[in-house]
Structure formats: structure tokens, C-alpha cells
């Protein structure tokens, strides 16, 4: 019974709430392919398109998790259902994360075909960046209950990375382009999980 409910939530959300985020994320992927050279790059150079632009797929997919409930009537309907609203959000986060990982993997494969020196390090680094940047926006959108604030905070965080490399420590987004290592992927994924967990908990308590 429970499984059937989750399946229903998944299918309904994929049908009604996933089109705009996935189209935007595909837009980011296409923009990355158009704007950046993706052939015959060394390992550090190859990390640039992934870290400098593709990370916005996370923003496009994770920030809109709260989008349907921006309409207060929909929020009331959702809150009145037996299934917890947090569960609905978690389902949305899970399929969005899967889509984000798939897009990152696709980009890495394209670069591999373009004879770039890329590997699993690039995938982990790209996915972690996208997830962390998305989590920053997710947190801002959830806490302020305003999706525009979510997008805005990601741009601010992205800009901060241009001048605050040392201050951001393991959460510096362009770490692989700078050092050539994907060591910061773990802390970023952990950071994203914590941010999202705290946000969902606070949003749940707020109701």
C-alpha cells in the first residue's frame, strides 16, 4: 500500500512537476556544450565546463522542488493529504538528483568521446558541485518560502567562489579546475545532504 503511494507520488510529480526543471537543466547542458570547448582537453581544463557551468543543472533541478506549493491553494491541498509533505519533497529530491547525475554522466561521456582526459573523478566532482549548489538554492527557497530567493542565493554563492576560494574551504566549487583533484566531492555531498535535511525538517515543523 505504502509502496503504491510512493509510486503514485513519483508518477504524478514526474508528469506534472518535472517538465520545466528538466528542460531548464537540458538548456544548461546545451549551453555548456555550445560555450565551452569539449575536445582534447587535459584533466584540469576538462573540469572547467563541468564546474563552471554544468553545476547549474543542480540549481535547475533542486530549487523547483518547492515550486508547485508556491500556489497557496496547492499547498493547502498537499497539506491536507494523508501522506506527509516531506515525503513528497524527498521523492522530488530523489528523482531530481538522479536526473542531475545522469546529465553530469552524459557530459563526461561526451567529453570522453571528444578525447578529453576525463574519468570518474570528473563525474564525482561535477555531480557534487551541482548537488551542493542546488542544495544552497533548495535551502534558501525552503527557508524563505520563496523560489526566487532560492535562485538568487545560488548566483550569490557562485559569485562568492570567484573571490573566496580559501574561505570556502572544501565547498569551493571550482576545486578540481584549480587543484586537479576531486577530494572535495565527499564534503560537498555531505554538506548538501545536511543542508537539505535541515531544510526539510524546518519546513516540516513550520506547518
Amino acid at each position: 500500500m505504502q509502496k503504491r503511494s510512493y509510486g503514485k507520488i513519483l508518477s504524478v510529480n514526474l508528469k506534472h512537476n518535472f517538465k520545466m526543471p528538466i528542460v531548464s537543466a537540458l538548456g544548461v547542458l546545451i549551453l555548456t556544450l555550445l560555450l565551452f570547448n569539449t575536445t582534447a582537453l587535459q584533466s584540469k581544463e576538462a573540469a572547467r565546463p563541468i564546474e563552471f557551468l554544468l553545476c547549474f543543472t543542480g540549481v535547475m533541478l533542486l530549487v523547483p522542488v518547492f515550486y508547485p506549493e508556491q500556489d497557496e491553494t496547492i499547498r493547502d491541498v498537499i497539506r491536507s493529504k494523508k501522506i506527509d509533505y516531506t515525503v513528497v519533497c524527498i521523492v522530488r529530491v530523489l528523482y531530481s538528483t538522479a536526473a542531475m547525475a545522469a546529465l553530469t554522466a552524459f557530459m563526461v561521456l561526451i567529453m570522453k568521446w571528444g578525447e578529453c582526459d576525463v574519468g570518474m573523478d570528473h563525474f564525482w566532482s561535477g555531480a557534487a558541485d551541482a548537488w551542493f549548489l542546488g542544495a544552497v538554492g533548495f535551502t534558501a527557497a525552503g527557508l524563505t518560502n520563496n523560489i526566487t530567493a532560492g535562485y538568487m542565493s545560488t548566483v550569490l554563492y557562485y559569485l562568492a567562489n570567484y573571490g573566496l576560494r580559501n574561505e570556502l574551504g572544501p565547498f569551493y566549487l571550482f576545486a578540481m579546475s584549480y587543484s586537479g583533484s576531486s577530494d572535495t566531492a565527499g564534503p560537498k555531498i555531505l554538506g548538501a545532504v545536511i543542508l537539505m535535511g535541515v531544510t526539510l525538517t524546518l519546513c516540516r515543523n513550520r506547518k
Binding site: 504524478v12 512537476n17 508547485p68 526566487t148 530567493a149
Partner: protein, 424 residues
Amino acid sequence: MLWMKECNKTVCSIIFVLYAAAVAAMYITQFVPELKDAPAKPYKGALQPGEGYGSTIKEDPAILMPAAVESLIREYLEGSYRTYPLLFYKDVRLKEEDSAGIAAVIEELTGLTKAELDRFDAYEPERYEAALHEDGEQSIVYKEAQLPAYSLRADISYERFRELMTIADEIIGGASKYSEQFLLYNFARVSMTYEEALAEYEEITDEENIAGSYSRLYCDYMGIILSIMPVFVCAGLWQMDKRSRMEELIYSRKISSLKLIITRYLSMLLCMSIPVILTFLHAMICIRNLYPEKNIHFGNAIALTMVWLIPAIMAVTGTGALISELFSPLFAIFVQGAWWYIAVQSNQNAGSITKYSLIVRHNTLGSMKLFQIQYGNFMQNRMGYLILSMIVLLCTVIIYHWHRKGAGHAKKILWKNTVRKSKA
């Protein structure tokens, strides 16, 4: 009354608070450190190896033309052209017919034909090589590139040379070393002498110029943030009407669409200008304190800042309003985000002012001559964005009126993709 209501609505929104925080953060982290110390006067004395007085750009055809032509010949022989579409290196290899186009440009500049270029097989790039001396010691020696013998044609005018460089850049696909944007930066850079460095220092610290020098740097930093943040404020306010289901209620009011949109637009502009005005005032006070002995002229600095930043805020807000009204606020953010990203990545820190880029950069207190060379581009750019912002504002009024009359509702439903009722 409506004016006050709109201002109140803007200032009280969480998005505006974030906007003000972003402007303040940019100012504090980037510009304020520049105010801590006055620029040091150049030191006259024997320079140690590696020391210098910096470099400057001189638009001197005698320096620029030979350097650019040599580079073009070198890249032709290598069959590979360096481009920087987003300031990231991209290697371009041309097809046969495009290569012939470059050869034609070289021929017009030097008289070297395509056949002569293709026949030349002794090409070697410039490089550093280890050399063994007679005493057994090794050293690193610089070797010049091996190129075919040529000389620049004396009858080529500087204007024709610039045209040929533009043609070469178009053949390569843009953003090459020969583009209008990068030509001076790549080939007209020369080391400064002590006298030149001193002259630049005196020019910066001159009572008439000092505020202008700092305001250029201020506008450089603030221009980056003001080319994106206003769209969030605009989209947030447009979204607010939809969220609170006020659209239809506003549609039914007596007020004209022109008055409503203009009032909303101007109130947003005014509110968004407040953090900029406050930070600018603070900057000017700090400059006053940095040079207490000087009678600083602030008039030019204020005018320059207004010309630099106001068109940016107006254009971004106007475009945001138009796209929000036509499609959706989130789509406006996406479009503006892409536009901003391309603009921010395709600019050098200084010396790359073009007629079209949304962001104008001049990230230095000095290089006044470089700014003066590009002043025409700067003014055309800013006036262009001012006109663009007025056109998009007018379009927003027309579309809003169209929606209000109900005629555009079908299109609105198709395009706006507003919040859909989820069964979840």
C-alpha cells in the same frame, strides 16, 4: 499613493533584502580593500631582474601592426588559431576555404602569397632551448620563431589594417586575438618607463581625476552584480502578484496600464538604486579621507557612475519585466542568467569594452588612456542599453495591456506555464 505602495512592496520583500545584501557584500569584499591604501608613487632607482613599472596599452600602429601580422602568419603556418569565446581557451582549425581567406588577408598585408606560405616548410615556433656553452655550462636560450621572409606593405593604412583584422577574426569565428575586443590587449601592450609610470600615478592622483579613477573601479565591481540581481527583484515582484492571486483584481482597476507599469518600474529602479547610492557615498567619503590634502572634484565621478550603472539596472529590470509578463518570472531569471554568464565570461578585466556587452569592465585604477581609447565604445554601449531598456519597457506596457484586455490570454496559457495543480 500607488508609487509609495509599490516602493513599500519592493523594499519589504525578502528578495530586496537579499539584493541589498548582495550589493553590500560585493562592495565590502571587492571595493573597500582598494580604499585601504592610496596607490604608491613609483620608485626611481635600479630595477632588480623581474621588477618593472607595469605595462600599458599604446595604440601605436608601429607596434601593433607588425606584432599582429607576425602572429597571424605564425598561426596560419601552425594551422591552429587561439580563440577565447568565454575567456576559456579554444583551439580553432580552419577548413581549406577559410584558410585561403586568412592567406588572402596575409597577402594583402605582406605580399606573401598562399603558395609561398604553403611551400614554407622550415617553420619552427618560438621556444626556449637548453644550450651547452663551451665552458660546459648549460643555460636556457630563447629561440625566435622561424618564419618566411616578409615585410609589412608600406601602403597599408592603419584603418585598412583594422578592417583586415576584423575579416580575419570573422573567418576564425570570433573572439580571436585579432578581434576588436582583444587586438589592442594582445598586440599593443608595452612596458612602462619610470616617466610613464610617474605620469600615470600623477594622472590618477590628480585632483580632477582621482574620484573618476576610483569610480571606474567601483563601477567595474558593482556592474557585475547589477547586471544580474535586478532581475530577481523584478521576477520576485511579478511572482508576488501571481502568488497572492492579485492579477485579475489589478486588471479590473481603473488605472491605465502605462501608468501602472511605469510606476512599478520606476519604484523598482528607485529602490534598487538606494544601496548603490549609499555604497557610492561611502566610497566617496573614504576617498576624501584618503587624500585629505586634495580638493577632489566629485562631479565627473558622479556623472560617470550614473552613465555606467543606471543603464545596466534599467536594461536588466526592463528585460526581466518583459519576459516575466510575456512568459514567466522564472523564465526571465533563466534568460537573464544566461545573458549575464556570457557577458561576465567574455570580458577581460580591462581593455575589452565593446559596443554590445552588458557588462563593462575596467578593473584598475590606472590605464586611463586605455579607457579613453575605448570611450566611444563605452558611450555607445551605455546609450544602447538605455534605449533598449525604454523599448522593452514600452513592449511590457503593450503586452500587459494586451493581457489585461483578455486578448492575449490564450497565448498566456500556452506560454506562461504557470503553477499547475498537482495531484500529488
